[in-house]
C-alpha cells in the first residue's frame, strides 16, 4: 500500500469538502463544485476500504494535530461518510437555485466537520471539527426553514454553545493534567486525574447534549420533527460522531474499575430510558417517537458504559463487536428517519409493499441492536444483565410503536398525495430516490447485522429475543387503534381522575397565562395612582420591558449559572 497515497487520502477526508466549499464560493468554479457536492465524502468512503491503520501528524496545525484511521475510526467513518453521501444525494443544491451556494457551503462545512470528528486523534482537532459540524448543521436546519424549525434551531444553538463551553472546560482540565492533546495521552491522564468526577460530569454533559442524554436533550425532538427529510441522516451522523464517539475516544473503557461512576451512569441511563419511554408513549407523531428512540439508544449506551465501569472485563467481549453494532444502529435509525412520512407513495404492481417492507426491515434491524449487544454481555456474565434487558425493552417498544404508527398513517392516507416537506433550494428529491437511499441504508444495516449475528449462539440470544417480543407486544397494544379500545369506561375511577387532571391543568394554565398578568397590571396601576410622576416607576417599567427580551432572560440564567459554577469552583479550588 502506498503510504503517500494513504496519507493524502486521510488528509482529503476533511480537506476535500472544505476545498469544494471554497470552490463553491467563487463564481468561476461554482458550477463544477456544485455538481461534486454529493461526492464530497468519496475520499472518506474510499479510505474505509483500506485495511491498514493510518496516522498522519500535522505538527503546525492547532497545537500539533494528528489524523488517524483505526478500527473504531474506520467503522465510524463508513457510517458518517455514508450518511453524508445520502444527505448529499438527497439535498443536492443544484446550480441556479436560489441560495444554492450558501446551502452547499453549509452542507460541505458540516460534512467536513462530521468527517473530521472521526479522523481526529487529538482533543483540539476533535473539538474544532465538532464546532464546525455543529454550527454548520444549525445553519442547514434554519436555512429558509418553516416557522416551526426556527424555535427548534434556537434551542439547538443555545445547547450547542453550552455544550462547547462545557467541553472546553473539560478538555482544559484534561489537557492540563495530560500535558498533551492526543487521545491516547489524555485517556491515560484520566485514569489518575485529581478531579475525575468533575471531568466525567463535564464529559457526560458536553457530549450528552449532542447525543441526547436526558436533561440536556431538548433540541432532539423539535429538530427531529421539523428537519427536512434530506437532512435527517445528517442528524443521526451528528449524534453518533459528535456525541457517542467523544465518549468512546476519551473514556478509558476496560482499563478502569470505577464502580461509583458506573452506578451513576446507570442511574442516568435509567432516567434517560424512563423519560424516552414516557414521552414516546405520550407522543403520537412518528418522528417525535423516533427522537425518543434516539434518546433511548443513548440511554442504552450509557447503561452499557456504566456496566463496563462496574465490570471492566465486559469491554474485551464487546470491544470488537461494538463498532459494527453502532454501524447497524446508525444505518437503521437513519433509514427509519428517511422513511417516515414517505411510505404513502403510490407504488403499483409487485413493488406495492416495498416501502413498508423496507420500513419493517429497518425497524427490525434497529431492534436487533440491543438484542445482539445484550447477547454479548450475557456471554460474559452468564445470564442476561437486567438493566440492559430493560433498555432493550424500551428501544423495542418505542421503535415498533413508531413503525406501527407509520404503517397506520400509510393506511389512513392511502390514495392521498403525500407532500414532501422540502424547500425549493434543496434538490427536489424524488420519492424513488429517497426510497432508494433508505433501502441502501437498510441493506448496509442488514450487512452489519449479519456480521454481528454470526458470532452469537442461540442460547445467549434467547433471553433478549423474549424480552424484545414482550416489548413488541406492548408496542402493538399501545398504538392508536388499540388505545381506542382500551379507553376507560364511562363513570370509571380512571376517567374521573383524567377529568380532574385536565381541569387542573386547564385552570393552572389560565391562572399563569391570563390572570397573573392581569393582577400585576392592576397592582401596578393602583400603585402608580399614588406616585404618578415617580421616576422609579419608569425605571421599573424599563426594566420590565427589558425583561421581556430573550437576551435578558439569558443573562439572568447565565448569572445564575455563574453563581452555581462559582460555588462549584470554590469547592474545586
Amino acid at each position: 500500500m502506498n503510504t503517500l497515497f494513504d496519507a493524502t487520502l486521510l488528509l482529503l477526508v476533511m480537506i476535500w469538502p472544505l476545498l469544494l466549499a471554497v470552490a463553491v464560493s467563487f463564481s468561476a468554479t461554482r458550477a463544477v463544485a456544485l455538481r461534486l457536492v454529493p461526492w464530497a465524502a468519496l475520499p472518506a468512503l474510499v479510505l474505509t476500504g483500506l485495511f491498514f491503520d493510518q496516522a498522519l501528524h500535522l505538527p503546525g496545525v492547532l497545537l500539533g494535530s494528528v489524523l488517524v484511521l483505526d478500527d473504531l475510526g474506520r467503522v465510524f467513518l463508513l457510517l458518517v461518510a455514508t450518511l453524508w453521501t445520502a444527505v448529499g444525494l438527497l439535498a443536492w443544491p443544484r446550480p441556479g437555485t436560489t441560495d444554492a451556494e450558501r446551502y452547499a457551503v453549509l452542507l460541505l462545512l458540516a460534512m467536513a466537520g462530521g468527517l473530521g470528528l472521526v479522523v481526529a486523534a487529538d482533543i483540539l482537532l476533535f473539538f474544532t471539527a465538532g464546532t464546525l459540524t455543529s454550527y454548520a448543521l444549525y445553519g442547514l436546519l434554519v436555512s429558509d426553514a418553516e416557522d416551526s424549525t426556527r424555535p427548534a434551531g434556537r434551542i439547538l444553538v443555545i445547547l450547542l454553545v453550552v455544550s462547547d463551553l462545557v467541553l472546553f472546560e473539560c478538555l482544559l482540565l484534561l489537557g492540563q493534567a495530560a500535558g498533551g492533546v492526543e487521545f491516547t495521552v489524555v485517556r491515560q491522564a484520566l485514569l489518575s486525574i485529581e478531579h475525575r468526577g468533575l471531568v466525567l460530569g463535564l464529559m457526560i454533559v458536553g457530549f450528552g447534549i449532542k447525543a441526547g442524554v436526558v436533561g440536556v436533550h431538548f433540541w432532539l425532538t423539535p429538530v427531529f420533527v421539523s428537519a427536512v427529510p434530506a437532512l435527517r441522516p445528517a442528524l443521526i451522523g451528528f449524534i453518533f460522531s459528535a456525541g457517542l464517539l467523544g465518549w468512546l475516544r476519551l473514556l478509558p473503557f476496560g482499563e478502569s474499575h470505577w464502580p461509583g461512576e458506573g452506578i451513576m451512569l446507570q442511574w442516568l441511563a435509567w432516567v434517560t430510558l424512563g423519560y424516552a419511554v414516557f414521552m414516546g408513549l405520550l407522543h403520537r407523531q412518528q418522528r417525535a417517537i423516533l427522537a425518543c428512540v434516539a434518546i433511548a439508544l443513548t440511554g442504552y449506551w450509557l447503561m452499557l458504559m456504566g456496566s463496563v465501569f462496574l465490570q471492566p472485563t465486559l469491554w474485551s467481549e464487546i470491544d470488537d463487536a461494538l463498532p459494527f453494532i453502532l454501524l447497524q444502529a446508525g444505518f437503521g435509525l437513519a433509514a427509519l428517519m428517511l422513511l417516515d412520512g414517505q411510505t404513502g407513495w403510490q407504488v403499483r404492481g409487485r413493488l406495492r409493499y416495498f416501502p413498508r417492507g423496507v420500513l419493517c426491515l429497518a425497524a427490525l434491524l434497529l431492534v436487533t441492536v440491543p438484542v445482539i449487544l445484550t447477547g454479548h454481555v450475557a456471554k460474559v456474565v452468564g445470564m442476561m444483565a437486567e438493566p440492559l434487558a430493560w433498555a432493550l425493552a424500551a428501544i423495542t417498544l418505542l421503535t415498533l410503536r413508531s413503525v406501527l404508527l407509520m404503517v397506520s398513517t400509510v393506511h389512513d392516507s392511502r390514495g392521498l398525495k403525500v407532500t414532501l416537506k422540502e424547500t425549493q433550494h434543496f434538490a427536489q428529491a424524488s420519492t424513488t430516490r429517497t426510497l432508494l437511499v433508505a433501502s441502501g441504508l437498510t441493506v448496509a444495516s442488514l450487512l452489519a447485522a449479519v456480521n454481528n449475528l454470526i458470532e452469537l449462539s442461540a442460547d445467549v440470544l434467547w433471553g433478549p429475543i423474549l424480552v424484545a417480543a414482550a416489548a413488541a407486544l406492548l408496542a402493538w397494544l399501545s398504538t392508536a387503534s388499540r388505545v381506542q379500545h382500551l379507553l376507560p369506561a364511562p363513570g370509571s375511577l380512571q376517567l374521573r381522575i383524567n377529568r380532574r387532571l385536565i381541569s387542573f391543568l386547564t385552570h393552572g394554565r389560565r391562572v399563569v397565562g391570563e390572570q397573573l398578568p392581569d393582577w400585576r397590571a392592576t397592582w401596578l396601576a393602583s400603585l402608580q395612582r399614588y406616585r404618578p410622576h415617580a421616576d422609579s416607576w419608569r425605571f421599573i417599567d424599563r426594566i420590565e420591558h427589558r425583561l421581556g427580551h430573550w437576551p435578558v432572560v439569558l443573562v439572568i440564567l447565565l448569572l445564575l449559572g455563574q453563581l452555581v459554577a462559582w460555588l462549584g469552583g470554590c469547592v474545586f479550588c
Binding site: S25, R102, T128, F168, Q176, A565, W566
Partner: protein, 499 residues
C-alpha cells in the same frame, strides 16, 4: 553606531516623515497621497520583516538618542516590542488600503492621513520604547494624534466624544507621568528590563511601590479601557470606520494593554509584582472588565457600539493573562495582543462596509445582509466566532492558553470567567449572524450605494477578507514558525521565564 542601531529609528520615521509631508499636500493630489501612504506602509513592513528575521536569529537592534541629562530616548527591538510592531505594521498597511477606499471623495483627506500616519508613528514608538520615558513620550503623542481622527467628521457628537477622550486620556497620562517620575526618584533608572528592575529595592519601599503600581496601571488602564475607566471608548466609535478599526485593534486600546504588560514584566517583574500582592487585584479587575464589557455589549443595538464594548471585554484578556502570573497564561495574554487585533479589526472593517455600502448602523437593520454582502459577512462571521473562542480561529488559541495557564497556577476561577465571557460573546454575536444569514432581507436598505457587480468597493472588501484569513490562519496554523503563538512562546522563553 552600526546599521542595526538605525533601523528602529527608521521604522518610526517611515511613517512620521510621509505623515508630515502629507499634511502639506493639497486635497486634489489624490494619487501622490495614496502612493505616499502605501509606499510608507510597505517600507515600514519591509523594515519590520528585516528586524523580525534578525531578532529571531538573536541580533540586537537599538537606537539611543540623548534626551535629557541621564535620560535617553531609547528604541529597542526586543521580541515583545517586535511582536507589537509587526501587528501595527501589517494592520497599518491594510487599514491604509481600507481608508483610501472609505474616504474616497470625502473632505480633509490630507489632514486625516497626516494624523493617521502620526498615530501609527506613535504606536510604533510605544512598541519600540526601551524605557519608560520614551514610552511616555510616544504615549502622549498618540493621544494628541488620535484626537483629530476621532473628531474628523466635525459633528457635535464627534466633538463631544473627542472631548471625553481627551479628558480621560490626559488624566491617565498625568497618572502615568506621576508614577514614572516617582519611580525615577526611587530607582534612578527607567530602563525596561526583561524581569524587572525593582526586585532589588529594600522592603521599606514596598508600600510605595504598590502605590506606584496603582498609578501606572490606572494611567495605562484608561487607554486599555479597564472598568471603570472605559467610558471614552464606546463614545469614540463615532470616528470613521478605519479610525475605529485602528483604535480598537492596534493603536490606543492595545497600547494601554501593551503598557500594562511592560509595567508588570519589564518594570516590576512578574514574580516581584506577585510578591507585592498586586497581581491578584489586577486579575480580578480584568475579570470584572471582561464580564462587564460583554454584558454591556449584549444590550447595544448600534453595531459599532456593541463592538466597542466587546473590545472593553476582550482587551482585558491580555491583562488577565499577565496578572495570572504564569508562563502559559503569559503566552495566552501576549498572543491575544495580536489575535484580538486581527479579529477586532475584521469586525470593524465589516461594520464600516455595512455602513458605507448599505447605510446599516444598527444590529436590527442587519436582517438578510449576508445575501447582499456575502464576503463581508463571511469575514464578520470568522471574526465573531473568533471572539467567542470557537476553534480553529485565533481567539480559541488565546483562551486555551489562558485557561491552561490559570489551571497551572491553581486559579481555576479564571476558567469560569472565560466560559462566562464566551457565553456572553455567543449571546451577542450569534443573533447578529443568525439575522444576517438566515432572516429575509428588507425590500430596501437604509442607504444603498451601487458598486456594479461587486458587493462593495475592492478597497473596502479586501482588507476584512485578508484579516479574517489571518485570524483563521493564526489559530489553525498556530505552531508554524513565525506564527503569533510561536513568537509569544519565544517572548516567554527568552524574556520572562528563561529556563
Amino acid at each position: 553606531m552600526n546599521w542595526n542601531a538605525w533601523i528602529p529609528l527608521l521604522v518610526v520615521a517611515s511613517s512620521l516623515l510621509p505623515g508630515l509631508f502629507i499634511f502639506a499636500l493639497a486635497e486634489d493630489r489624490v494619487r501622490l497621497r495614496t502612493t505616499l501612504n502605501l509606499a510608507a506602509a510597505l517600507v515600514k513592513l519591509a523594515l519590520v520583516g528585516w528586524m523580525l528575521w534578525g531578532v529571531y536569529q538573536g541580533q540586537h537592534y537599538e537606537t539611543r538618542l540623548a534626551l535629557l541629562p541621564e535620560l535617553e530616548l531609547v528604541l529597542r527591538a526586543g521580541p515583545l516590542a517586535l511582536f507589537f510592531v509587526t501587528l501595527s505594521a501589517v494592520l497599518w498597511l491594510l487599514t491604509t488600503v481600507y481608508a483610501i477606499g472609505y474616504l474616497e471623495g470625502s473632505l480633509n483627506r490630507s489632514r486625516f492621513f497626516g494624523f493617521f500616519s502620526l498615530c501609527v508613528t506613535a504606536t510604533v514608538g510605544v512598541a519600540l520604547a526601551g524605557n519608560l520615558i520614551t514610552f511616555l513620550l510616544f504615549y502622549e503623542l498618540l493621544t494628541l494624534s488620535t484626537y483629530p481622527l476621532i473628531v474628523h467628521r466635525g459633528t457635535e457628537v464627534a466633538r463631544r466624544a473627542g472631548q471625553s477622550y481627551l479628558i480621560y486620556t490626559f488624566c491617565g497620562g498625568a497618572l502615568l507621568l506621576l508614577g514614572t517620575v516617582w519611580l525615577y526618584t526611587l530607582t534612578g533608572t527607567l530602563e525596561f528590563t526583561p524581569r524587572g528592575f525593582l526586585s532589588g529595592l529594600d522592603e521599606e519601599y514596598h508600600s510605595v511601590l504598590i502605590i506606584i503600581f496603582v498609578l501606572l496601571i490606572a494611567g495605562l488602564g484608561v487607554k486599555a479601557a479597564l472598568v471603570p475607566l472605559h467610558g471614552w471608548l464606546p463614545q469614540a466609535m463615532v470616528a470613521p470606520a478605519p479610525v475605529s478599526a485602528l483604535l480598537h485593534a492596534v493603536a490606543v486600546v492595545k497600547v494601554g494593554a501593551f503598557g500594562i504588560v511592560r509595567v508588570v514584566y519589564e518594570v516590576f517583574g512578574v514574580e516581584f509584582a506577585a510578591s507585592l500582592g498586586v497581581t491578584k487585584p489586577l486579575a480580578l479587575l480584568a475579570a470584572i472588565t471582561i464580564i462587564y464589557g460583554s454584558l454591556r455589549a449584549l444590550f447595544q443595538d448600534d453595531l459599532k457600539r456593541r463592538l466597542a464594548f466587546s473590545t472593553v471585554s476582550q482587551v482585558s484578556y491580555i491583562v488577565l493573562g499577565v496578572a495570572i502570573a504564569g508562563p502559559v497564561a503569559t503566552i495566552g495574554g501576549v498572543v491575544h495582543l495580536v489575535h484580538q487585533g486581527l479579529m477586532k479589526i475584521t469586525l470593524f472593517f465589516c461594520a464600516g462596509n455595512l455602513a458605507e455600502t448599505l447605510g446599516i448602523h444598527k444590529v436590527s437593520e442587519m436582517n438578510g445582509v449576508g445575501r447582499r454582502m456575502p464576503w463581508t459577512m463571511a469575514a464578520f462571521t470568522v471574526g465573531a466566532f473568533g471572539m467567542m473562542g470557537a476553534p480553529p480561529i485565533a481567539g480559541f488559541i488565546s483562551k486555551w492558553h489562558l485557561g491552561l495557564g490559570a489551571l497551572e497556577v491553581g486559579q481555576g476561577w479564571v476558567v469560569l470567567v472565560l466560559a462566562g465571557s464566551s457565553l456572553l460573546n455567543a449571546a451577542y454575536f450569534l443573533p447578529i449572524l443568525h439575522a444576517a444569514w438566515f432572516r429575509q432581507p428588507p425590500n430596501a436598505w437604509p442607504q444603498e450605494h451601487a458598486y456594479g457587480r461587486q458587493e462593495t468597493a475592492w478597497a473596502l472588501l479586501l482588507p476584512p477578507v485578508v484579516t479574517a484569513l489571518l485570524a483563521l490562519a493564526a489559530g489553525l496554523f498556530a505552531l508554524l514558525p513565525f506564527s503569533p503563538l510561536e513568537w509569544a512562546n519565544l517572548i516567554a522563553r527568552r524574556e520572562f521565564y528563561p529556563l
